[in-house]
């Protein structure tokens, strides 16, 4: 039941995307998200979808695995769709008593849903193809400039990697404790909301106890190995850009340019049209 959560999970296989420098992938996600919010016409989404599926294909991660992550946001997606569908003003397409659905509403609801889906899928691709360690390394390097502002980047990166590392451990622990209490006749499914919430006490108390115990053990182990905070620590595998990373940056760059042109085509064409009208015709 709990194993269905795919966010933050790593899918082990061999592919170009897996081998890419995490910084490329992080910047790629950022650019992809910005591009998604910039598309003003359907052609842009075609480009976005095409780009995403190209990356998925290259990553050798089964599409089924990536779409699994969408299950978790079904409710948020439904709410967005419904709100947009009923509350967008415009030309009425359908009137049911007091509520009206407008053409504009249908259009925004659809694009919103598409945007959310692409957003989740795009970020899942990164976490599925990058080990948590690699991801924090990438963040640490990529955010290195924040040191200038006295942000303890190294410590934050260490905390993040520990937090990420503990997600699967705690999930497994939860599963184990739930099973142990089920074996003692616990019932997590029946009853009303209050009863269900109460039935989680036998799971949450041992879970917290074990989380604190693990945190204590880890702190002790780190101290024993003389951990003294982030700055000046060297890496066993430092991040170095390779040829494939440069190529990936080039592809990303052209995707961004393409997104600007296609996604905002009418703005650009209007601009050139006005140039043409104002300067050449006159």
């Amino acid at each position: 039941m709990i194993r269905d959560i795919t966010i933050g999970q790593y899918y082990q296989t061999e592919s170009v995307i897996h081998r890419l420098d995490p910084r490329v992938k992080l910047l790629g996600t950022l650019l992809f998200i910005i591009a998604l919010f910039n598309y003003k016409n359907p052609l842009g989404y075609v480009l976005g979808i095409a780009f995403l599926f190209m990356v998925i294909k290259l990553s050798h991660v089964p599409v089924k695995f990536i779409t699994k992550g969408l299950k978790g946001i079904v409710i948020i997606m439904l709410m967005t769709v419904l709100i947009n569908l009923f509350l967008t003003p415009g030309t009425a397409a359908l009137t049911l008593g007091k509520v009206t659905i407008t053409y504009e509403g249908i259009a925004t609801a659809f694009t919103m849903m598409l945007r959310l889906m692409l957003l989740i899928m795009g970020s899942s691709v990164v976490t599925l193809t990058t080990t948590p360690n690699n991801l924090t390394d990438g963040l640490e390097k990529g955010m290195g400039f924040l040191r200038v502002f006295k942000v303890p980047v190294g410590d934050v990166a260490m905390m993040m990697s520990i937090a990420l590392r503990f997600i699967p451990i705690l999930l497994e622990e939860t599963d184990r404790i739930m099973k142990a209490q089920l074996a003692r006749g616990a019932d997590f499914e029946s009853g009303n909301l209050i009863k269900k919430a109460k039935s989680l006490v036998p799971v949450l108390v041992p879970l917290f106890v074990s989380a604190f115990r693990r945190a204590g053990d880890l702190a002790m182990a780190m101290e024993a190995r003389c951990y003294r905070g982030g700055d000046g620590r060297t890496k066993m595998k430092p991040l170095i850009y390779k040829k494939r990373d440069v190529i990936a940056y080039l592809i990303l760059f052209s995707f961004t340019i393409g997104s600007i042109f296609i996604g905002r085509w009418h703005v650009i064409s209007d601009f050139f049209y006005s140039l043409y009208v104002n300067y050449i015709l006159k």
């Binding site: 074996a183 003692r184 006490v201 041992p206």
Partner: protein
């Protein structure tokens, strides 16, 4: 009522590139009243198998029946099954959550619908059976020592009055004295309360000393299923599976190779010592 496992298979991650066969065509009959040891290397599927026995996991294929009913059936009452088949997980002390020991032991019987009086009687009875120190009945579960916590946790399952008691590595992480105390207690439960015991372990000594039947798991399959004497006579095969025969057997085996006529089937230290003594007396 016996528990019957009919060609059980369990496959993890079936939809990915790396499917894992945790159980592969396992068939077992567990009649009432036996004391069974299940041994196997880490990852041999023994813990997975145990979780099937009380319906916590559903087999990918095959059926498990209790009382003549398929336990994967939709209208089969899992709670009823868990009343009869108690499962004590590895490191069971990690599941304790109540404010005091007694309240924690009451959790199980309360869940299966016993009245308040029955619950308290069952809890007292269970705590007495595991020889839990009486002055600590109302102590906080977090103040206990490792061995005491484990007893309390076992009592928590025992209080549900199961006919079958499955213990997954009940001695893991305990010192030798604690180990034998727990194992002796389990053996007493079998002898005096007549509970069917399934003891999962990777320690051959534990198993050899107490059980009447040994099931050896290897790569999700049942490799051997016989009396300890018979199973431990296959020392080469066991070693290939990463399992060692009990230490006393190793010694008698070496002595037999050296020409001393000791009993190759002596399982425990006392048995081995006696047979070596007899053999040496004969040679003189």
């Amino acid at each position: 009522m016996p528990l019957i496992l009919d060609h059980i298979s369990q496959i993890y991650n079936a939809d990915t590139e790396h499917p894992v066969k945790a159980l592969d065509d396992v068939s077992l009959v567990i009649p009432e009243g036996q004391f069974i040891g299940v041994i196997g290397h880490t990852g041999s599927g023994k813990s997975t198998l145990m979780q099937h026995l009380n319906g916590l996991m559903k087999p990918t294929s095959g059926t498990i029946s209790y009382n003549g009913q398929d336990i994967s059936d939709k209208d089969f009452d899992k709670k009823e099954l868990r009343k009869h088949v108690g499962l004590v997980f590895q490191y069971p002390e990690h599941q304790l959550f109540e404010t005091d020991v007694f309240a924690d032991v009451c959790f199980g019987p309360k869940n299966i619908g016993m009245s308040k009086k029955e619950t308290e009687l069952a809890a007292f009875d269970a705590l007495r059976k595991v020889a839990f120190p009486e002055d600590l009945y109302y102590a906080s579960v977090f103040e206990l020592s490792g061995g005491q916590k484990r007893r309390a946790a076992i009592a928590g399952v025992l209080a549900m009055k199961p006919d079958f008691l499955i213990l997954d590595e009940p001695t893991a992480g305990l010192d030798p004295v604690g180990r034998y105390e727990i194992l002796d207690m389990v053996a007493k439960l079998h002898k005096e309360a007549g509970i069917t015991i399934i003891l999962v372990s990777h320690s051959m000594e534990d198993v050899a000393m107490y059980v009447e039947r040994v099931v050896v798991m290897d790569h999700g399959r049942v490799a051997f299923d016989d009396t300890p004497k018979e199973v431990f006579s296959h020392s080469e095969e066991l070693e290939e599976m990463g399992l060692a025969i009990p230490e006393p057997m190793k010694i008698t085996k070496k002595l037999i190779e050296l020409g001393i006529d000791a009993d190759p089937g002596a399982l425990t230290a006392t048995e081995a010592a006696d047979s070596i003594y007899e053999a040496l007396k004969k040679t003189k």
